[in-house]
Amino acid sequence: MKVVNQKIPSIDGKSLMMGRIAYSDDFADSDSLVIKVLRSPHPFAKIVAIDVSSASTLPGVEIVLTYADFNRIPFTRAGQGYPEPSPHDKFVLDEYVRYIGDEVAIVAAVDEATAKEALKLINVEYQVMEPILDFETAYNNPIVLHPEPEIHEMFPIGFDPKKNVAAEYHMEIGDIETALKQCDVVVNETYYTQAQAHAMMEPHSCNARFDHLNRLVIYSSTQTPFHIRRIISQALEFPISRIRVIKPRVGGGFGGKQAVHGELIAASVTIRTGKPSKLVYTRKEVFESSYTRHPMRFDMRLGAMKDGTLKAIDCQVLSDTGAYGEHALTVFMVAGSKVLPLYNKVDSVRFGGKVVYTNHTPAGAFRGYGAIQGNFALESVIDVLCHKLQIDPVVFRQKNMMKEGESSPIFAIMGEGTEGTAMTMDTCKLDYCVKRGMELIGWKTKYPRQVISEDLVRGVGMAIAMQGSGIPLIDMGSAIIKLNDGGFYNLLVGATDIGQKSDTILAQICAEELETTIDKIIVTSSDTDLTPFDTGAYASSTTYVSGNAVVNAAKAMKLLLIEEAAKILKINKDKIIFDGSSFSDSEGKIKISLADLSNRLYYNENQKQLATTGSFVGHKSPPPFMAGFAEVEIDIKTGETSVINYVSVVDCGTTINPKLAQGQVEGGIVQGIGMALYEEVNVAKSGKLITNSFLSYKIPTRLEIKNLVTEFADSYEESGPFGAKSVAEIGIDTPPAAIMNAIYNAIGVRINVLPATPEKIWMGINKKEKKL
């Protein structure tokens, strides 16, 4: 392969480094109205009265909108395919507010200062209600957070708002209680994960205006332009044919920009005023009023035989979706469906639980999407079991984990909101990943611990993980390739580059198939008017789904080119040899270059435009796999802990661009390390998020990240584009469990509630010492 699997520089990196106009706010009209949103100071309240008269008459204020200005149309902001597996439980504005930071009123003014001044002039009388802030008390609580009659599910997802349940699901393979009873050893543990923040560097940003055709044009930092177009149309009753959504460069998403954020607000202002408008979230709004990772509780039971054969897994989950149910069901299901098949040889596996409403910032999609939460629980409890069995955790995994050519009944049973799709692991190099990871970390010499000094101890720990490659039979991608005079191509894709550099890897795939170089492929992506449909950048789908669509379009283009060349050269098309830049017969006597062919097609004879379309929807979702090994160093006097080495060995099939793939893995690893050790979420008793800025919410800095070793397994997934699977999410899954396992191996302290702050570790050490 000449272009694919090559370390090609990204196609937009240079311009972005040089500060060119690129991101949503750069495209805002200079005379845009500036939008500010009045947000609820209460976690749960009813708006009894709202007086906007002073704000409306403030000079410079263009419009003030409250719930009274909107028809009551329930929808979901989730940004998923349609019909969505998330409940329609949100109104653009509502007379109820359900978390601190929920939208109360919208102000648009000539400048930011005036808009902010106007917010202060809005008088709201709230009937403050008792909130639910502890998700373990939400189920069947007498306080009901969503009593409104209009809300509904689109198809059965276990939605039961009267009991504060956004979604519920249960499944059982075999008989779990019987299976556990037959085991020599049973372990039983509970784990908690926190409401991690995406903390992408670009705050959520969008702007709107009417263009020369009187159509609403929205630039948005979104992962899902096509879903945004549909949702705006549905929620604002505005014709979908009059909406154009453009996603320019996006400054990071990680799932946080899958859902609708300010687009409905900016659209409402521009539709009502006829004037351009823009909304850029403050960092505080990004933390308080966008989305978080779903916090979850896991009650895990494992059963095994003395010889180290895993027999039964019981995984019961309680998930907190916050005020609204975006991704409630699907994130929770992935906590099972992309975790439990790792151990596919068990007699019985049970998974189930509820996703409950609380008065917290809503939870939504976030890289890992349930799998990181589930992985932390399962891969932690596996180590607990190994300790009890006195078996090396690597040996235990090698014995019980998924192998190539095998399957799990879970794939057929559990999908994302619906039934799943049966599949066999045509590529699964987990065996290699574990073995190579052991070598790279030095497992044999370092496991379980090394004493460095009186105060410092090091330990190693590991975890294995899997993810998916798009949602089978749902996620759809498409591509159009257009030949230009001069012999270069436009590649039009709906796929959404949010910084993961998908434009680059799709261009590589296209260039490889057309046997040309990447400079001949001009990528235009994510413009609902100009590019074909794509569900968007989520579920690790772009490389596999959109990449396959590009392959299909390129294959069709190649056939078309050969057909046209055959006509011009007057030889049978079967005899044509195309090397990417010219067409010839088998002897190479008759020849025409691609540039000449294209020029003749457009200027000289038998004129016609050559363009092809390719689409793809997956019939399976081949999981990437990885093994993650952490080495931690702990100050046993203070609990201070750092990850001094993190080894990742990944099977993602072919890496379309090995350097960019490494960037995906390492970016994920660092976010996972953040979740494991640093990203503490604090909520005050009032329900106010305390960790609502980078002063208080701590993502890893470059000094926290000591050494990362990342390698890829030799792997070729037949169903993927040039053998590729996905690589976007897999990196984030292992750090929480691998690091907790390493901490345990170092000092015998097990942290079951993330993150493992130095104080928690110190408390663990103290508790252990008291016991001794």
Binding site: G499, K659, S693
Partner: protein
């Protein structure tokens, strides 16, 4: 009030409010490369050079900068372009939102300390947060860029 700035080598006169921050003034002057990240001086995305030193434009009052020199990425386009090729080689660029700011910090580091160790790079750039890259490929690219610049300097 009116202030005078030397913006990327060009003297300009701007009308500002006394409480206005440089990021607002610069975006008003159509410098889009200076972008908002956090508003609390923590993320480094809005970094500019004030008299050659990296500062957070979200927290320097425009009035403070009166009669001073401001450099944005447009003022070091040549160096930024060179740095970007090393980022490209290492796959160190992802969303790119923080890259102009990072390039300005790297430029200032190079002027202050042309031969930094990896630890010195980390210390100097710690205020430039990145949520995409995992940092390590960035550091490799920066090390290679600085080595190349030092080599060119010697010649």
């Amino acid at each position: 009030m009116k202030i005078e700035l030397t913006l990327n080598g060009r003297k300009i006169s701007v009308d500002i409010l006394p409480g206005e921050y440089l990021i607002e003034t610069l975006r008003k002057c159509n410098i889009h490369s200076v972008r908002r990240g956090c508003d609390t001086t923590n993320c480094g995305v809005c970094t500019i050079l004030l008299d050659g030193k990296p500062v957070p434009s979200c927290s320097v009052l425009s009035a403070q900068a009166d009669h001073h020199q401001i450099t944005t990425i447009e003022g070091i386009a040549h160096e930024a372009e060179k740095l970007s090729t090393f980022f490209g080689k290492e796959g160190a660029d992802q969303c790119g939102y923080c890259n102009p700011a990072l390039a300005l910090s790297v430029y200032a580091l190079m002027k202050e300390n042309p031969h930094p160790t990896s630890a010195e790079i980390d210390e100097y750039l710690i205020g430039n947060l990145c949520r995409c890259s995992g940092y390590k490929n960035q550091n490799k690219a920066i090390m290679a860029f600085l080595a190349e610049e030092a080599r060119m300097e010697e010649q």
